[in-house]
């Protein structure tokens, strides 16, 4: 089940790159951050998709072999129940990527919708933006913890709980783009020849949001993976029977002085994955969105 959804989401990436102007992507790949981050990320994605079929059962117990150091039993050793740490970390990559991609996709979709409305419908603007201001001032991790403790920990609630605090940033971004674009002469021209508002949105406003949204999506993906791990680590995340990086590290806490690698291996994998995502994001920002690049360089 998990494998299907991750395959689908990576498959969904490919047609999008083809629909857009291909030259833009060639320019983006010329950026070193995008290239190297992309290669690293593809490698991690490959491990996440294929790895679980090749490794040992990540939940198979083997109490005689518990807390073995790396090399003694399996590449990364075993945890306190004798489960193979390497298989667990490989499976954790899949959970992390699923959460990251799901959160980014959902948050961008909802944020885009609300942002377009806020930017174009004066009446809704104040209402939507005040709600977003309010949402933004609630600390994301606390909000997620509260939502999860109310509706029980499942993959769906965890993703929902991480999505909600990410929405305001997307709404603000989209709204800002809409407000600048609607002053452009080509939009005024479209209005003057009587083009209907929905068509103006789709034909003139939407294309302008794509570049900043792709950049934003990578940052959301990275921060979602971190938040998921933090929630798992705090014991408020995905159900403990699923081997996510956060859950592995949470279980490793008890034996930290004895077997610190149970925290270090998934921790380093998580850091490297998020680093790859953020590097791609920084590179894309520089190439796709020169306006922001100029101020943040």
């Amino acid at each position: 089940m998990a494998s299907e959804s991750s395959v689908q989401s990576t498959a969904a990436e490919t047609p999008r790159t083809k629909e857009d102007d291909p030259s833009v992507w060639r320019i983006a790949l010329r950026n070193r951050s995008v290239l190297w981050g992309g290669i690293l990320l593809s490698a991690i994605a490959l491990v996440a998709i294929v790895g679980p079929f090749l490794t040992l059962d990540p939940v198979a117990l083997n109490p005689i072999n518990r807390l073995k150091p790396p090399g003694d039993a399996g590449l990364f050793g075993t945890d306190q129940l004798g489960r193979d740490l390497f298989s667990r970390v490989v499976n954790g990559a899949r959970v992390s990527l699923i959460v990251g991609i799901a959160v980014a996709t959902i948050a961008i979709s909802i944020g885009l919708f609300l942002g377009l409305i806020a930017g174009y419908v004066r009446l809704m603007d104040a209402l939507i933006m005040r709600v977003m201001d309010g949402l933004m001032s609630i600390p994301a991790i606390l909000l997620a913890i509260a939502m999860i403790s109310l509706s029980g920990a499942t993959l769906t609630t965890v993703v929902t709980a991480i999505v909600i605090p990410e929405i305001p940033r997307v709404v603000r971004l989209v709204r800002a783009v809409v407000l600048t674009v609607r002053e452009e002469p080509y939009v005024e021209a479209a209005i003057s020849v009587g083009t209907k508002v929905p068509l103006i949105m789709v034909r003139h406003v939407l294309p302008n949001t794509i570049a900043p949204l792709i950049v934003q999506a990578t940052y959301i993906c990275g921060s979602a993976m971190l938040t998921e791990a933090i929630l798992g680590f705090l014991g408020a995340g995905i159900p403990p029977e699923i081997p996510s990086w956060g859950n592995i590290m949470s279980e490793g806490r008890t034996f930290f002085q004895l077997t610190p690698w149970i925290i270090f291996f998934p921790g380093i994998c998580l850091a490297v994955t998020v680093l790859a995502v953020n590097t791609v994001g920084d590179g894309l920002r520089d190439t796709l969105d020169p306006r922001i690049a100029r101020t943040l360089r």
Binding site: G134, S137, F256
Partner: protein, 314 residues
């Protein structure tokens, strides 16, 4: 000016109202029966009914809201289900370590990040600049708790320089033990904050360095140090201070994790204990508390703009 301050204070009211409404609705609109989730898997129907009564869920929603917001306006953040103590009292008991950790973190981060960002901007493109940028990307990628455990592993377990975990109040045990225990948590929590502030400082100083008055200052023969300190940094201050304010949201999330790693009995631990005990009123009260603090701090920061940049007049 006074009118602006008044207006800005008034503007926080709808935001606070949205936060309150959201927190209120979260309990009422969450899928499933929150009373049953809070009561746990082994609860009897009676327990669930008791909790529903305690949360005030059996009344019509409009009456619930008026009662709840009325209590909130009087400073009542609710009552713990299990200990029956008011949430405000529990917060008062646990607030000291959290506030002190937040203060040491902000102080340390600003102390490290502003010079780093300034030097990086001044020598843009050099190896120092690249190191600072690399650090700031890495700082955003390493999870707070992994960093915490790496620091414990290196400085406490291997080198034996600092205590592994725990907290000593400076008011009871004196400044020495406090500093020893707060060092690792502060460094842990600071990394992401330093990354954020250094990045913004660099961007902001680079922009200011291109201004005409910098060229004028240099043409007058003023030393580079004075150009940086008196002309560049001062004019770059507004975005830096803004990002510190935005970063406070990040800090609050990080405090929960850091307190958990280092076993510090602060507000973060209060949240986690409440999650384990399914004591929802405490979680709700703390969300309100932290959100209001965030809103008030950002209000204060907005108001300091007039001091930082005399050109801003409302």
């Amino acid at each position: 000016m006074l009118f602006y301050i008044f207006k800005r204070i008034l503007m926080t009211i709808p935001v606070m109202l949205v936060v309150a409404l959201f927190v209120f609705l979260m309990l009422r609109l969450s899928p499933g029966d929150p009373a049953a989730v809070i009561a746990g898997d082994f609860a009897t129907a009676e327990d669930v009914a008791k909790i529903r009564e305690k949360l005030g869920l059996s009344e019509p929603i409009f009456i619930q809201f008026t009662k709840w917001i009325g209590a909130l306006l009087q400073g009542d953040l609710g009552t713990s289900i299990f200990s029956n103590k008011p949430v405000t009292e529990l917060i008062a008991q646990r607030i000291e370590p959290t506030v002190l950790l937040a203060l040491t973190t902000i102080a340390f981060s600003v102390f490290v990040a502003v010079p780093l960002g300034t030097v990086a901007a001044f020598r843009a493109g050099s190896w120092i600049d690249r190191m600072v940028m690399l650090f700031s990307v890495a700082g955003f990628s390493v999870p707070v708790f992994v960093l915490g455990y790496i620091l414990i592993y290196v400085f406490s377990l291997n080198l034996g320089l600092l205590p592994v975990q725990g907290y000593r109040s400076p008011f009871e045990h004196g400044l020495g033990p406090f500093l020893l225990h707060i060092t690792l948590p502060t460094v842990t929590l600071s990394v992401i904050f330093i990354a954020l502030i250094a990045r913004m400082t660099r961007a902001s100083v680079i922009e200011v360095l291109e201004e005409d008055y910098i060229r004028t200052a240099r043409a007058k023969g003023q030393s580079e140090f004075k150009v940086l300190m008196r002309h560049a940094l001062r004019n770059a201050a507004v975005p830096i201070v803004t990002v510190i304010g935005i970063g406070i949201a990040l800090l609050i999330g990080g405090v929960v994790v850091t307190e958990s790693v280092y076993n510090i009995p602060g507000l973060g631990r209060l949240v986690l204990d409440a999650v384990l005990a399914r004591d929802y009123p405490i979680i709700q009260g703390l969300i309100l508390f932290f959100s209001f603090i965030y809103i008030l701090l950002n209000l204060l920061i907005d108001l300091t703009y007039t001091v930082l940049d005399p050109r801003i007049r409302y």
